[in-house]
Symmetry: C2
Subunit: 325 residues, 2 copies
């Protein structure tokens, strides 16, 4: 009886692994350092060890595992399971992750983009439950995205769909890491938020951030900004609000394009709560059509750290059943 | 044997009607003035007459018609078939179009948004044939849109999806007819193109358009701009190019979000050919990720005037078979 799926969330810092029942119960979890500095072979050996550990701790025999899903950072090809490269995984060049892990584990292995996987996890068991159409934005160093339409994860023919961070929100705007200009990510990510702060400071705005960063604005972090904002620093509060407005502009495009029932925000930035969600919701409401704007709930992620492992498990289960194109 | 579908394209100026076989052959066509100034009842009577005429000319007995599809301007509700209002149909307020036409014709009637219907027509029999994911932009007074994903027309839970003209491309940009700012439509429509020309002229640019408009720039039209461009007017050529760049920015967002195999442009503006498609393609390529940008063909519509009637027929056929949610 193959009633268990294993989900792996392969991050640059940690590998998280979980055994999950077909109906979505977490049977066992494992988290360990990725040891990415040791290169792909060591990381894969590490993941194989995590799978063994999690099955043992859950008391699940390997024969009960129908498939293993991995959420991996890109660029990559979900159909072949090859990871082309990754800023967070040094030394990874065209690594046949699905095949190599399948050989190690003697199990079917499916690889998907990490933000897509997190979106599908939220759809299955988190803040996206019960809807037909949703979007997820992961607000971190960059802005990742996932889209579910018609109840299915939208991967795209090349697996590059749902790059919500690379919606254009400003012609001739900031240069983005992707090489284009005016991408949402250049404003709405933590990096973008820090950039907004730096630009404001360079214009001579007074702020606690001068003290918090020791006067070295290259050391500014998202945490410093949220700390300063919580301490009542008007400038830091403005920076948070600006970031929320940019996110809201991107969300309004999603609402007008997809008429989603829910837009889920995740990542450390959402700890700011209403200070972030307030301007996001106001802007989305002002900039999108009334009917779909009223329909769309803009909510925080529900699964926190587990979205990746649960979503990777769900993706593997779907793909193993042949439900994916 | 119900092997025929009737498609109606309800425009502000003309009603186009066609009898279509289930496998996509045009059996008969009709086009007549909408007579929208006479109000909803007269327009619907007019449409019923067109259906009778087209069936007669095609030699098709009414018993062979499985359903009638209408592509109507919005805002409207495709599920109830009610048209709330329309700038091009004076006096239309909450008209139960599907029900009233069904009563008149004694046939099942399905109403959908006109741009969605045109997209589905192109998908079925035009420039979108053979793909799984595509977008259509109708470049006219406004910018309408349609999206097919997973081989299905994306209507959205409220029927408001695919409003491609209301992607945000510029923070604090031009005010749009929808009430928001910075929408693609405010730059990429014919109206937006004329606005770009006016702004340039107000900045003192020299152009043939001064002569063509008789010095009254409120009389400027898209046609004057394309005429001037073809006559070698540098300013008019710049206006066309700018418009293409804006369209390309919107298309790059679609490429990054949906990884479509094709983006189809339609409307009178596409007569400009390479002068428009050149900058659209260049901009989309420069602003979108490489892999999906290489994948996506940006092409002119293939069905011209027939996209609406064929798409309306296809939508009705799908919905009648229960293939739509």
């Amino acid at each position: 009886m193959s009633d268990v799926v294993v989900g792996i969330d392969l991050g640059g810092t940690n590998v998280k692994t979980a055994a999950v029942s077909a109906d979505g119960r977490l049977l066992g979890k494992d988290s360990r350092p990725t040891r990415s500095e040791e290169g792909p072979e060591a990381v894969m050996e590490n993941m194989a060890g995590a799978v063994a550990a999690v099955l043992e701790s859950a008391g699940v025999d390997r024969s009960r595992v129908q498939a293993v899903g991995i959420g991996a950072p890109g660029p990559m090809n979900w159909q072949t399971g090859i990871v082309y490269s990754s800023p967070n995984l040094p030394g990874w060049r065209d690594v046949p992750l699905a095949e190599a892990m399948s050989d190690r584990l003697g199990l079917a292995v499916y690889v998907d983009n990490d933000a897509n996987v997190a979106c599908y996890g939220e759809y299955w068991l988190g803040a996206g439950q019960g809807v037909d159409t949703m979007c997820l934005l992961t607000l971190g160093t960059g802005v990742g995205g996932g889209i579910v339409v018609f109840g299915k994860l939208l991967r795209g023919i090349d697996g590059t769909a749902a790059e919500i961070g690379h919606l254009k929100v400003m012609r001739e705007g900031r240069t983005c890491g992707c090489g284009a200009t005016g991408c949402l990510e250049a404003y709405a990510s933590v990096t973008g938020m820090v950039r907004t702060a730096k630009e404001g400071i360079e214009e001579g705005r007074e702020t606690l951030l001068t003290t918090l960063s020791g006067g070295d604005f290259d050391r500014l972090t998202g945490k410093m900004i949220s700390d300063a904002a919580r301490q009542g620093d008007t400038f830091a509060q403005w920076v948070e609000r600006e970031t929320g407005i940019w996110i809201g502009i991107g969300v309004s495009s999603l609402i007008n394009l997809l008429n989603p029932e829910r837009v889920v925000l995740s990542g450390g930035m959402i700890a700011a709560g209403e200070a972030l969600f307030g301007p996001v919701r106001e802007t989305a409401k002002a900039m999108a059509f009334d009917v779909p704007a009223r329909r769309c709930e803009i909510v925080p992620a529900g699964l926190n750290e587990d979205a990746g492992v649960l979503g990777a498990a769900a993706c593997a289960m779907d793909r193993h059943a042949g439900n994916v194109r």
